[in-house]
């Protein structure tokens, strides 16, 4: 019964979203109709929540008559993995996607009174139209509630062991908050175009939502990278894998949008560009969904064999992109305002920032799509490796850092060249620091020293600006605090990447029991292997003793697990995490005489990569609490009415 309840709730939610879209986009001025949009949105959320809960219930109660549950769960799994298995595979994760879309719509309703009614109903209408597309996709191509009756299996096939992990409980919801969150600025852009009102106030409304979505996306990607680091057993944290790229592309577009919106808000310019970015950001969310869910990655052939899902998303993507771009082409020109600014101005540097981010986006897009395109055209297969991405991202990151370091000194419109003198001083300090680092760490790579120096420059110049403001005694606006934090986060991340990518030590060695090897000045001794039992797996646990030169020694335990249900083997790394460096051990395979192949890594500053990214996300959230977003007022006070009261 419960799964059917979930199925029907989803159907009704789809019907409601259809009506929400029709009423919202009809542009009706009837206040009853306008209010109904809000109530239907609330209803839609309640129904999708019910539907999602029904699926969670089916997992929690081991209802293996539901095909999706039978394929992705097992009675031996601990309860929390049973619950998180709900979004462990395609069908359920898409239901989560729908729930989150409805959640964003509900959140919009909570702030609805701050926007003009006709604009707001259009925003909800667009969101509902998107959600209708998602719900139909779920119902027609990926229904998670299908039953296996009467052939009900006795037990489930188990969730992929890699996904039985804390990281995978949290990672998808966060990432989806970001993916779908980008639908809000998209809806704002389309509604703004429909209403013909794209101005500073519009940009201010959009910023709150864009920042939120961006922060979630940042946190989601970071968590995914951290998960890959400790769970895949390869010790890497980014693989330029198409699945990762699928989330990185909307992030790049959203980052450009966050910056371009600030120009539109403060200076009333860059409007058309901002609109285009808002459309681009969400389009890349959808493209990511296509890449990941269509099977096109496995093989163009497998896409051709079972094209249903892929074709659906592709057509949906074409409609969304085609529709919004047509509207853009028709309407965007009307909003143009000419605002002059010189080369030495914040506007111009924002332009540089956006240019870099868009080039970066083009690089990732090319690197991801070229192998797929090549296969589709020639039938042959190619892979594009990490060096391709690094060749572009190293210089792009460095140039971005330069722009970032100068930024605090720049005014809007124009800046006198003399005003940049402090940047010269801070550059000098950073350069001295970089040279020191160069001599201490790595006398071979100029690029690393440059990255560290530029990172330090960004931190120093932002710090100096902060100090100057604090001494003046002015209170710091939250937007400023958020920006500073995010920029410092960028440098922390960049320094982390530069150091960990070049200074890591890694070796694959054969280790006999009681044998030891040196790793970055630490003696690592292999004590042997013990058998341990988990709830749904048995494991061989390798015990290692690590003795650093100075501080005390510690033990690391790395496991090789065999899961009962699917007989899958999985590696669980042993990691000693530290702010300055990680020591990472994972088991390879057993060799003769009790010896094992062992993978040893010493990774300095690897935590900085994620720490920096989390600082960026935090900065984005803090900026939302700026006063000027709180004291929002509707431009047209006459239309407050309906929505506010409902």
């Amino acid at each position: 019964m419960i799964p059917e309840l979930g199925h029907f709730s989803l159907v009704i939610a789809g019907v409601l979203s259809l009506f929400t879209a029709l009423v919202g986009l009809s542009g009706s001025r009837n206040s009853l109709l306008q209010r109904s949009v809000v109530s239907m949105t609330v209803g839609q959320f309640a129904l999708t929540l019910l539907s999602f809960s029904a699926l969670v219930w089916s997992f929690a109660t081991d209802d293996f008559s539901v095909a999706y549950v039978a394929n992705n769960s097992n009675s031996l799994m601990p309860w929390y993995y049973k619950v998180s298995a709900t979004w462990g595979a395609h069908e359920g994760s898409f239901l989560l996607w729908i729930l989150i879309t409805s959640g964003w719509m509900l959140a919009l309703c909570l702030r609805g009174h701050q926007y003009p009614t006709s604009f707001f109903t259009k925003v909800l209408g667009i969101m509902a139209l998107l959600n209708l597309g998602f719900i139909c996709f779920s119902l027609f191509t990926s229904n998670p509630f299908l039953r296996l009756i009467p052939m009900t299996p006795v037990d489930g096939a188990d969730l992929n062991p890699l996904l039985q992990d804390f990281g995978l409980i949290v990672h998808p919801p966060l990432l989806y908050m970001g993916y779908v969150g980008l639908a809000v600025p998209f809806a704002f852009a389309v509604a703004g175009l429909l209403e013909g009102q794209v101005d500073s106030a519009w940009a201010r409304w959009s910023r709150t939502w864009t920042n939120m979505a961006w922060a979630f996306l940042t946190a989601g990607i970071t968590l995914g990278s951290w998960w890959a680091y400790y769970e895949l057993g390869w010790g890497g944290w980014w693989f330029w894998d198409p699945v990762e790229n699928a989330s990185f592309m909307p992030w790049l577009a959203a980052t450009a949008l966050v910056h371009s919106l600030s120009v539109t808000e403060k200076r009333g310019t860059f409007k058309s560009w901002t609109l285009l970015l808002a459309i681009t950001g969400f389009s890349f969310s959808l493209l990511g969904a296509f890449i990941v869910r269509s099977g096109v990655l496995t093989s163009v052939h497998s896409f051709a064999v079972d094209p249903e899902r892929g074709m659906y998303i592709l057509i949906f993507l074409a409609l969304v992109v085609g529709g919004s771009l047509t509207l853009y082409a028709l309407r965007a020109g009307q909003n143009s305002t000419q605002v002059a600014y010189s080369f030495l101005s914040r506007e111009f540097f924002m332009l540089i920032n956006n240019l870099i981010l868009i080039v970066a986006l083009a690089v990732v897009l090319w690197g991801t799509m070229a192998p797929i395109g090549y296969e589709a055209v020639t039938g042959g297969r190619i892979s594009i490796g990490t060096p391709f991405f690094n060749r572009f991202f190293v210089p792009l990151g460095l140039v971005l850092a330069i722009a970032l370091a100068v930024l605090p000194l720049l005014n809007w419109k124009r800046t006198k060249a003399e005003a940049l003198r402090p940047a010269g001083i801070s550059l000098l300090i950073a350069a001295v620091f970089a040279v020191l680092i160069w001599f201490v760490l790595d006398p071979t790579s100029v690029v690393v020293a440059t990255a560290v120096g530029l990172g330090a420059w960004v931190v120093i110049s932002h710090g100096a600006d902060l100090y100057k403001r604090l001494r003046k005694g002015t209170t710091l606006p939250m937007a400023y605090v958020g920006m500073t934090l995010a920029h410092v986060g960028f440098s922390v991340c960049m320094i982390g990447i530069a150091i960990t990518a070049t200074q890591s030590e890694e070796s694959d060695v054969r280790m006999a029991p009681q044998g030891s090897v040196m790793l970055a000045g630490q003696r690592v001794t292999f004590l042997g292997v013990v058998e341990v039992q988990g709830p749904n797996y048995s494991a061989q646990q390798g015990v290692f003793l690590v003795e650093p030169e100075s501080t005390g020694s510690y033990e690391l335990r790395a496991e090789k697990r065999r899961y009962f249900a699917g007989n899958n083997v999985m590696t669980e790394a042993g990691i000693q995490a530290g702010l300055l460096a990680d020591t990472y051990v994972s088991l390879g395979e057993p060799l003769a005489d009790g010896a094992w192949a062992v993978r040893l890594h010493y990774k300095p500053l690897v935590r900085w990569v994620w720490l920096g990214a989390l600082l960026m996300a935090l900065g984005g959230i803090i900026a939302i609490f700026d006063r000027r977003y709180r004291s929002l007022r509707v431009r047209d006070t006459k239309v407050i009415g309906a929505v506010a009261q409902s």
């Binding site: 979004w87 595979a89 994760s93 992929n160 890699l162 995978l168 699945v243 497998s302 042959g380």
Partner: protein
């Protein structure tokens, strides 16, 4: 031409130049960092150019895996089960699912003796997983096996959850 138009013209020319430059670089750099894939038949036919990094793949031939007694060196043979077999040498940790009969990918160079010197061996974390490059080979070998094969490797599994 009025100044506004002139400004727009400059901007357009600038953007065109940038996009042309970026596109050129993308093609150039991806050409340099592109690894072609070769199925066993092509490897045996000597189609792999010498001293060039490529990918090859096939099924690990039963009974072909020979491990060194003292180091992590290992040698094995890859086949398409249709007569093409070639030797691979590798030193390092093999993936969890490396075993005889399993479809795997190797990345590296062909040496003068006709041994594929692998720098990387890729086989993913699922019993039923087949590296995408090998699907075609396997499809020809066992036409019916294809549909039953869930495509779950760790990244794709991660992808499912994404």
């Amino acid at each position: 031409m009025n100044p506004k138009r002139k400004q727009r013209l400059y901007l357009t020319v600038f953007l065109l130049l940038v996009s042309a430059g970026v596109t050129g670089l993308l093609i150039l750099v991806s050409g340099e960092n592109m690894n072609m894939f070769y199925p066993p038949a092509d490897v045996v036919a000597g189609k792999i150019p010498p001293e060039q990094k490529v990918r090859a793949g096939g099924m690990v031939l039963d009974g072909s895996v020979v491990r060194s007694e003292t180091s992590l060196a290992v040698e094995f043979q890859l086949t398409d089960h249709k007569g093409a077999v070639f030797p691979v040498a590798y030193s390092g940790i093999l993936p969890d699912l490396f075993r005889e009969g399993q479809g795997i990918l190797v990345e590296g160079e062909m040496d003068a003796q006709g041994v594929f010197q692998a720098e990387e061996v890729l086989a993913k974390h699922d019993e039923n997983y087949m590296p995408p490059e090998l699907l075609d080979i396997d499809m020809q070998a066992k036409p019916n096996a294809y549909k039953a094969m869930p495509s779950i490797d760790p990244r794709a599994a991660k992808g499912d959850a994404l």
